[in-house]
Point group: C2
Chain length 381, copies 2
């Protein structure tokens, strides 16, 4: 798979409370940016993948929504769903469709309207765990508390992640919460589920992102700066990791396995990655993921956050985009949005938030919580 | 793609009102039959695809449901959804994953529990069209009426399809409605949506089916009778074909396009196909699909049904399994169940319903209605 597929165009809507835009509007906005970026006639798209987690409140929201939004008719379009890893998994399948020789040019769109429904965008029918009073913050908090007890870190370490990601997001015109926060603000915010206060949690967001992938040998037709797909990995563990007696609550094996597969395909080690978009649905999740992705040893993620090693100016910038924390988290869109950010950084188009060294970037989703993870490694050449 | 992927094992549950079995029970039953059929240690499965249309009433029903049901952990598992073409599209993506070189052995499961919810298994939130009083029978009936008017066929021609498919299904121990019906019964049954009476409509059904696909050169390890994937095609037209002023209501362009792609990949014409599992959600749909798949010219499908050319003993047997009409239609499972039937027929294991010539079989789903279609061509060698 390595180097067989290239990203030649990306697009992303402003993320936020987009009550004035429908689901199909979001798909259009993201896809047409990607067409323009690739200087491509939309008629060249041979197939498409749509990543959407939740069916819309009015039904539909399947492959046909993408077809109708883009008038992209008479082609294969597949909807992929994989919890919070929906976007990266849609991208992964698009890459395999190309590498299989079936298609040459494929569009990937991740899109989600979360603000039109109650709660944290969770299905009204209710998940059996949520029905028992557990929420996404509550489930991740269980692991965060255990982690903080084991490795002796406090809420002020978590707050460093929020401060950093809001710092980055404030420099990103497309971020949902485009504002800086202070450590004091984070620590004094209302508690959602201990140890998470309001600013430890990503917001509920509408948005869409798009990427056009093609056979690597065709990339020169569309861009002078193709980005190569170096490797990817997906891993599903149990949907009930918290009931698994071997689960230590200190990190997610799904991320460790997905990363191992991606590094192996790319022929690299985690130390070769210059920067990463990492699933920071909660501040603790970024710290733990930094370890699970192999950037540092288990238990060292807190120190990395405190020492600024994951800042824009650090030796391993994490979430230069602002992350889910500041950019927002429309579930199916997030993975494709991360790929958008990686491509922008690898092309040196990060603007105020450009990282210094950008040859090899990584996008990572975790969902479930912890049940599924997907890792994509992208390279500038 | 042609001949790069082989089916080496298949499984299928009894279809029906399976109130005593859960969603995960169905996945287990189908997958373990496929493991046994391929004489395969489940540990050899490297990745999986799950086709499910509706998220369950209790949430979940995603990739993690397959992982937990089969204890198939630490692997990539993707859920694919594509209306009634969900099962065949999951299979198509599994084939591309193998042909891309990413995986060697992949499990595909289609599963659906429709009886646990109200209505025709449709989401409680309601589709915008359904909310206006249209149902699946109502939407297909619009086209059927136009077709019958244009080509001068009556309800007794539709009834031939019901009689044939119930005849075949009565010979299939796994069929939901395992009983014969007479033309008189079909014509006298209560009307659901003119011209469709009760016996012109497929039932609402629970069930699951599984297929194991692998790199064709590895197939000999698992079976003496591998079945080769010759070609496939998916096409999405508009999600609102009935509002398209160019739509003639006489058949579905999505099926025509998906079939053309599949035949082109396989290097065959429709006349080379020996038998087919065709999406007969309603009796008229089979007649129209027979034409859209290119087996006969537009308008000739009714004569084909009347003359018995699509019967088990005809020159182009259609739905030897009993079809959706008799076997049942658990949405995400149906496509994989069709592949199961094709493989059984190609191996000569069709029992009482074995077709005479079985070198090349075809499975076809249409959904939407008409918005999406998927075609898979399978060959005995």
């Amino acid at each position: 798979m390595k180097d067989k597929v290239a990203v030649v165009g990306v697009g992303c809507t402003k993320f936020g409370d987009l009550f004035d835009l429908g689901y199909e509007d979001l798909i259009c906005a993201a896809a047409f940016q990607a067409y323009e970026d690739a200087r491509m006639d939309p008629g060249e798209i041979q197939a498409a993948y749509l990543g959407t987690y939740l069916p819309g409140p009015s039904g539909g929201k399947a492959a046909v929504s993408l077809a109708d939004a883009l008038r992209l008719y008479d082609r294969p379009i597949t909807r992929v769903e994989n919890y919070c890893a929906t976007g990266t998994d849609a991208f992964r399948n698009a890459c395999m469709a190309i590498a299989s020789g079936t298609h040459e040019i494929v569009l990937v769109v991740g899109a989600e309207k979360l603000k039109d429904r109650g709660g944290r965008g969770l299905p009204r029918l209710g998940h059996p765990l949520l029905a028992k009073g557990n929420t996404a913050p509550g489930l991740f908090a269980l692991a965060a508390n255990r982690y903080m007890h084991t490795f002796g870190i406090g809420r002020e370490t978590l707050a460093k992640v929020a401060v950093k990601n809001h710092h980055n997001g404030a420099r990103n015109p497309k971020a949902h919460l485009r504002m800086e926060v202070t450590e004091e603000q984070v620590l004094k915010a209302p508690i959602i589920a201990w140890p998470f206060g309001l600013f430890d949690c990503c917001p509920t967001t509408d948005g869409a992102a798009a990427a056009i992938v093609c056979r690597a040998d065709l990339a020169g037709r569309f861009t002078d700066q193709p980005v190569l797909v170096k490797g990817f990995g997906l891993a599903v563990t149990s949907g009930r990791p918290y009931f698994d007696p071997t689960f230590d609550y200190l990190g997610f094996p799904s991320t460790q396995q997905a990363a191992r597969r991606a590094y192996e395909m790319a022929g690299i080690t985690p130390h070769d990655i210059d920067f990463a978009e990492v699933h920071d649905c909660f501040t603790w999740t970024e710290i733990s993921n930094t370890e699970d992705l192999g950037f540092c040893a288990k238990g060292e993620g807190g120190a990395w956050a405190r020492e600024g090693r994951t800042a824009l100016t650090g030796d391993k910038p994490i979430n230069p985009s602002g992350g889910l924390k500041s950019f927002g988290h429309p579930i199916g869109a997030s993975g494709v949005r991360m790929i958008y950010e990686c491509v922008e950084q690898l092309r040196g188009r990060g603007g105020e938030r450009q990282v210094k060294k950008a040859s090899l970037g990584l996008a990572h989703n975790v969902g479930g919580p912890g049940a599924v993870a997907c890792v994509i490694v992208l390279g500038a050449n």
